[in-house]
Chain length 311, copies 2
């Protein structure tokens, strides 16, 4: 049984109550706790030594940055504003206080920059390896909360930044797209949004499934990162750059669907607002289900791992 | 460096923002997110295999129950109502889906009974051992939120249930005192409250330090559990029962301070409301700092581990 099967099994029937607007299955849980006009966003995420980082590769501050940044990226995906976080440190029996202090410095620096309060947490023992779990609360105006399930035929698909090759470094110092997402929701009728954590092809599938639609991506429009190109050139055994952009995880960019009629105003306004961050139209939503890639060989099905199926 | 030193180091200066009513240092963080008249309560807690339970001793349902119950007990300590939880499962590489399903069944059963929605979470890999972290949101009326810092000279100290010997079984099937705490806050001017997780002597110290007062406990009034008595009788090498009641962790009972004048009305009303749960006056708050125990040898200082210091 893989992780997705297990999650499907466990989330079949979960206890609910009237505060729940959206439970498991979106970037964050959405709750109505009585604040007029606003929803609460609730998210947890954990990073584990040897899985999400290695102490050899990552500075302690980067580990802290990544732990909080992953949660912030999920708040961004719903166009929310983060409020407060709790930090759970599960520590190996022999830990260096200075190391942990520096992990916290990374968390605190990002928290400060994003206006997040760190309101406590706990330390516990996890013999063998460091695990950091962050629980994050955010808020969003009820009419600006962007879910995964609203994409429609005729929408264009957009992505911020560049994709692929995150393991070369970006996964440790990415910038959660909070301001960008809030600006998008405030200025354009975004139909659906998600943050890219598992790879473009896989994460787009979540939007398609929950919206009941399909999509067509344009191979030549995918913004392949410099890191992915460099990796492919220097390490020829790695994935081709386009495949990396379609399938590599931890880009932490925004993917969203917006009616195609807004394309020109969006691009114009974006360039004025965020001149240093690329925004690219990578394809369109289709009424027919399925995910396809259009390249010089034609239109072919794309699987969740980013591979095209040759006819 | 021990855990408390580390926590003191890490929480010296944490990022804050205007939503924070109380950050690290109480049973839960307290936030004002704009719901009129209400505060949000925010808490995380983790249980780790081999530390908080062993798979030999605990049924999977009990592990789930304990993981959620510990957080619920902290919501109870502030007289709150739990709303929604996220469940983080960090799983060893080889896990039995049926085992995890049963852990979830234990979580879900307790959640259902307490009105808590399970709104998602995540699974991740933690080679070597199972770790379950729960993030819990609750709410409380602003004027009914009971903190640790309000105990005053002249208050009587009360405890629910019986103390000590939790490891004999209670730590796996305790009942978070949610209804009792809400009833107390609704009907009596409770000055300070905490749930007993680290042992009576240690947890009382938190109330005393944050309230700037001292306390005197009456040895003969401490409600020693049957489990603690039985353990001392059958395993003479263990602690004496009174020491167990003063120092054993994981009782998950409520300890609170209330002006002494309310003692008789409280006991009368309690017996009608909760006839099957003991409520005991165990001592009083004093203006002089320090924690003392009065027994047949007189009044002597008590340390956080429950030991008296002989003169």
């Amino acid at each position: 049984m893989n992780e997705l099967d297990l999650i499907a099994l466990l989330t079949r029937s979960l206890p609910a109550n009237p505060s729940v607007v959206a439970g498991a299955g979106d970037d964050c849980a959405v709750l109505d706790c009585g604040a007029p006009g606003r929803f609460l966003l609730f998210k947890t995420d954990a990073v584990v030594s040897g899985i999400h980082f290695t102490a050899q590769e990552a500075a302690p501050e980067q580990i802290g940055h990544k732990a909080l940044g992953r949660c912030l990226s999920d708040i961004a995906a719903m166009a929310g504003t983060p409020l407060a976080a709790l930090v759970t440190l599960a520590l190996p029996r022999k830990f260096q206080p200075r190391f942990i202090e520096r992990v916290y410095a990374g968390i605190n620096r990002l928290a400060q920059r994003c206006g997040v309060a760190i309101v406590g947490g706990e330390t516990t023992t996890n013999p063998g390896r460091l695990l950091i779990s962050i629980a994050l609360l955010g808020e969003v105006d009820q009419d600006k909360c962007i879910r995964r399930g609203g994409a429609m035929d005729g929408d264009a698909l957009w992505v911020t930044g560049e994709l692929g090759g995150s393991l070369a470094g970006k996964h440790l110092d990415f910038e959660p797209r909070l301001a960008e997402a809030r600006w998008l929701a405030a200025n354009f009728p975004i139909h659906a949004m998600i943050d890219l954590s598992d790879g473009l092809a896989g994460d787009l599938r979540h939007i398609l499934r929950q919206s009941g639609v399909g999509a067509e991506l344009l191979a030549r429009s995918i913004p392949v990162s410099r890191a992915a190109r460099l990796l492919a050139r220097t390490q020829p055994s790695t994935k081709p750059p386009l495949l990396a952009a379609l399938s590599d995880g931890e880009d932490f960019e925004l993917l969203f669907a917006l009616p195609a009629s807004h394309a020109v105003p969006l691009l114009d306004a974006w360039k004025r607002q965020f001149p240093h961050l690329r925004l690219t139209c990578i394809g369109r939503i289709t009424a027919e289900p399925g995910l396809n890639l259009r390249d010089k060989y034609g239109l072919r099905p794309l699987d969740t791992h980013g591979y095209v199926h040759f006819a």
